[in-house]
């Protein structure tokens, strides 16, 4: 805790001064400076991109794993308990500890960050897929069987489409959560907007822009997923025509 | 001695059934173009069951909920025992009015005893008094005492409904409001609960407002029936018999149903019909005497009865070839009909046994006459409700099974 700047003084990542702390300008007072933001916006582009990649890759991998587990658990009910238990533990471990516990195994960098972030999405997506599938009305399932659908056809043609809103809702929650957790990914050496915040956390302009970008990213991704959900589930908006 | 009299006197005055009077009650929801209830006036005598019936959306539930001010009145007034319901704060008023709804609304986190004790607890009754009342009520609604510590989730639908009724009765209210109380229950249990409730009511004599969409239930339960049409307009307010005999207009006639003549059978008892006189013979009577009996009676066969007048069987031509009437006879006198049983049930029994006649007995089992399909069809024909051949109607009614 020797240096006056940056929280991550002891971290092996270089703490960069974002601006010169001299003079009587807005920047020197660590204020909120629109001018400074306008001129320095480009320095947030790379961290933002890193953040997007971390989030999208983690959610995509997490979805693949959780979805497969959920389908398995849908066939073999006894799996649901253990899977929920294990993913629940992963979900509970604070991301910060997770990054450091993983580091001896996966090293510093994006791999560690992604492994940790993936593990957080598992519980959310798994739970939503299984509740979505369980929420399909028994009579609908019955009708499907009565029409001669095989178990596999029933799953892909009836159960999964009907579970879609719930599934996508899970992905949405997982995505916004991951955007938030990825702000700590710099502890694992994976950069992202968190690194930018950490570079100068007392400079209001910096915190507002980097934090704001995090929120904006979460909101944009959420809207994209919401639009996707609406596009693929037209029947949920059907209104009886008189 | 003197004190006890006063006490019971007080208790009686507090809990005696009250008359309920609706005076030009109107309800219009804010922003609505039409009244939900329009100028509804009716009086329910103390101790009567008034059934509000009508198609869905006619405002029957709204009308009921105006009484305990779950919904506020737009204009008009409702008087309970001569006093306006607006005199009391809503919560106070509602503690004095029993309330039963279709979904029952038991508190899932409380035991049956705690559920029943809801109002006594609100009224700060002493623990012992509440406990005693809970036991009494469980017994009253035919639930075993050990149900007291169960939770609603452990009860069947029928049992929960009994708890609902017990809960509404807890503070012995002078008026009960019941909104389709048996609506969500299977037909067999519903029938049993209806009968039990009528038995209960014959003891308690509460004033009851009972909402249903089922005209058969209305006819069965109601002392008086108020038929409502859309917009909460009173179409007819009458006793079940009047309603069936003389529907006020096409709407009521339609609602009551084309088979209303048959429904009347549910309202009447065997004793209400002018029975046929039976040609009674006893063992040892001469067959000539028996033939003479048949000639002067309404029936082609003599009915053999025991010494004390109980029905034994019908005598056929073969039984009359000898000089004297002897036992046994070929044809049993079945079904034996109770003169107090409902005419509809008596008809059902005749049809079930595939027979034309049934001897009718009084409480001691003595034959008092004979009921026949012919008599019933005459009865149906005599009412002004008959448009078609009564025999056809009799065979195609599922209501009789």
């Amino acid at each position: 805790m020797t240096g006056p700047i940056g929280f991550g003084g002891g971290l092996p990542l270089a703490t960069v001064l974002i601006h010169q702390r001299s003079g009587t300008t807005c920047e020197a007072a660590n204020g909120f400076c629109p001018n400074w933001i306008a001129h320095n916006f480009s320095r947030y582009e790379t961290p933002l991109l890193q953040h997007v990649v971390l989030t999208v890759v983690s959610v995509a991998i997490g979805f693949g794993i959780a979805f497969a587990l959920a389908l398995l658990a849908h066939r073999r009910r006894w799996l649901a308990g253990p899977v929920t238990g294990v993913t629940g533990v992963l979900y509970t471990i604070p991301s910060l500890s997770f990054f450091f516990v993983l580091q001896p195994i996966t090293g510093r960098g994006s791999l560690t960050a992604i492994v940790a972030l993936v593990s957080y999405t598992l519980l959310i997506i798994f739970r939503n897929v299984t509740t979505g599938l369980a929420g399909v009305a028994p009579e609908t399932r019955d009708a499907g069987r009565g029409l001669g659908l095989s178990d596999r056809q029933l799953l892909w043609k009836v159960e999964l489409p009907l579970a879609l809103p719930e599934i996508i809702a899970g992905v949405r929650v997982a995505t916004t959560t991951t955007v938030g957790l990825a702000t700590l990914a710099f502890f694992a050496g994976a950069g992202g907007l968190g690194a930018q915040i950490n570079a100068d956390p007392v400079f209001k302009s910096n915190v507002v822009v980097a934090g704001g970008l995090c929120v904006a990213l979460a909101v944009v991704l959420d809207i994209v997923l919401l639009a996707l959900q609406r596009a693929v589930t037209p029947w949920t908006r059907a209104v009886p025509t008189a | 001695m003197n004190r006890t009299t006063t006490q019971t006197g007080e208790a009686a005055s507090a809990h005696e059934a009250a008359t309920l009077e609706l005076r030009s009650v109107t309800k219009r929801y804010p922003g609505a173009d039409e009244d939900a209830i329009a100028e509804l006036s009716l009086e329910v005598p103390a101790g009567d069951i008034c059934v509000l019936v009508g198609p869905s959306g006619c405002g029957k539930t709204t009308a009921m909920r105006l009484v305990n001010r779950m919904i506020s009145i737009t204009s008009g007034d409702i008087l309970l025992a001569g006093r306006s319901v607006t005199e009391l704060r809503p919560a106070e008023l509602r503690k004095r009015i029993g309330y039963v709804i279709q979904q029952i609304g038991l508190f899932p986190h409380r035991t049956i005893a705690q559920n029943i004790a809801t109002v006594p607890r609100l009224l700060d009754w002493k623990k012992e008094r509440t406990a005693a009342r809970v036991r009494e009520l469980l017994d009253l609604v035919s639930l075993p005492a050990e149900m007291a510590d169960r939770y609603p989730a452990q009860l069947s639908g029928g049992q929960r409904q009994r708890v609902g009724v017990a809960r509404a009765l807890a503070a012995d209210p002078p008026l009960m409001l019941m909104d389709e109380p048996f609506g969500a229950i299977d037909p067999i249990t519903r029938e049993r609960l209806q009968n039990e409730f009528l038995r209960l009511q014959s003891e308690l004599r509460k004033t009851i407002v009972f909402v249903t969409h089922d005209i058969d239930e209305a006819i069965k339960m109601g002392d008086r029936i108020a038929v409502l049409r859309k917009g909460g307009v009173l179409a007819q307010y009458a006793t079940p018999a009047e309603l069936l005999m003389a529907p006020a207009d096409d709407f009521v006639e339609d609602f009551v149903g084309a088979d209303r003549a048959l429904k009347r059978l549910a309202l009447l008892r065997v004793r209400d019909v002018q029975l046929w006189r039976a040609p009674l013979v006893r063992e040892g009577d001469s067959t000539a005497q028996a033939r003479e009996q048949v000639r002067t009676s309404d029936l082609p066969y003599p009915l053999l009865v025991s010494e004390d007048g109980r029905p034994l069987g019908w005598l056929s031509e073969d039984d009359l070839v000898k000089g004297r009437v002897e036992l046994p006879v070929d044809t049993a006198a079945e079904p034996v009909l109770d003169r107090d049983s409902v005419l509809r049930d008596a008809l059902a029994e005749l049809l079930e046994r595939d027979t034309q006649y049934g001897p009718v007995v009084d409480q001691r089992g003595h034959v008092v006459g004979v009921l026949s399909l012919e008599l019933i069809s005459h009865f149906l024909a005599s009412s002004d409700a008959i448009q078609a051949d009564p025999a056809d109607r009799v065979t195609d009614t599922p209501a009789l099974s």
């Binding site: 910060l96 450091f100 929120v215 | 779950m70 609304g105 609100l122 989730a153």
Partner: protein
């Protein structure tokens, strides 16, 4: 895995020794990397205490604010948009960004740290309380009203007890969140268990890993304790009702098999 040495990956033996060293750090004190100061072992206890203190205070205040507000809004059926979207917004604002925002605008210190954590803890509790009250069957509330219960009596004897499991679900989520986020407390001037993680130049990698393990255990403990609490506050009648519905669900499992074999 051995080939990953370049970016910090190490072999299994070295891996074991790293974890061994970390565990050792947790249970035995040693000199700091920079020298002169004793770290680890019993010296971790004040940090643990501070961590728990910060978490408990924040969670307590958040409960005191969010539960009454949620009950009130839920009972009246108002503010659905606020009560529900607050948790979406809460999720979208990263806790790290929120803390940084507090540092930038208000400075460091225990009070500011707990402000940030309170803000973090409120949304799940508020939303769950609101939803918990709203999901009480309308018939139950109607029956309660019809029997002459006042608004407060309905909240106290019906809505609150029936909503309790959900409310505690929210408290549980927030508790785990708060414990996790309190780890970055040293960045905002509160020396929690996150200190060895963040100041590895003083504590060394063993300290970093050891504290990480402690934080993980603390979070899991919090989860377990609150799960037990949640179970304990669930009225028996509700557990029975829930049991009835799961057993009904189980009921059609064999039926399904019968269908698929036919």
């Amino acid at each position: 895995m051995d080939t990953g040495g370049a970016n910090g990956m190490i072999g299994p033996l070295a891996l074991l020794s790293q974890f061994n060293d970390a565990i050792n750090f947790i249970f035995h004190s040693r000199d700091s990397v920079t020298g002169g100061v004793r770290i680890g072992g019993s010296h971790l206890l004040p940090m643990l205490a501070r961590h728990v203190e910060l978490s408990a205070v924040s969670l307590g205040v958040a409960c005191a604010l969010a539960i009454p507000l949620g009950l009130w809004l839920g009972h009246l059926g108002r503010g659905q948009l606020v009560a529900v979207s607050v948790s979406n917004v809460g999720r979208a604002v990263p806790s790290f960004a929120l803390l940084a925002f507090f540092v930038a605008y208000l400075g460091t210190g225990f009070t500011n740290a707990s402000f940030a954590l309170i803000l973090l803890a409120i949304p799940p509790i508020l939303t769950n309380t609101y939803v918990g009250v709203r999901q009480v069957d309308r018939e139950i509330v109607d029956a309660a009203r019809g029997q002459g219960m006042t608004g407060w009596e309905i909240v106290r004897s019906a809505e609150l007890p029936i909503a309790l499991p959900l409310i505690f679900g929210g408290v549980r989520t927030s508790a785990v969140n708060v414990v996790a986020t309190a780890t970055i407390g040293p960045l905002i001037g509160v020396v929690t268990l996150g200190d060895p993680i963040i100041n590895s130049s003083v504590y060394g990698s063993a300290g970093q890993l050891g504290a990480s393990i402690m934080v993980a255990v603390l979070a899991l403990l919090t989860e377990v304790i609150f799960a037990a609490l949640q179970r304990a506050v669930t009225p028996k009648g509700l557990r029975l009702a829930a049991g009835a519905s799961t057993s009904r669900r189980r009921f059609w499992t064999p039926k399904r098999r019968a269908y698929s074999t036919s």
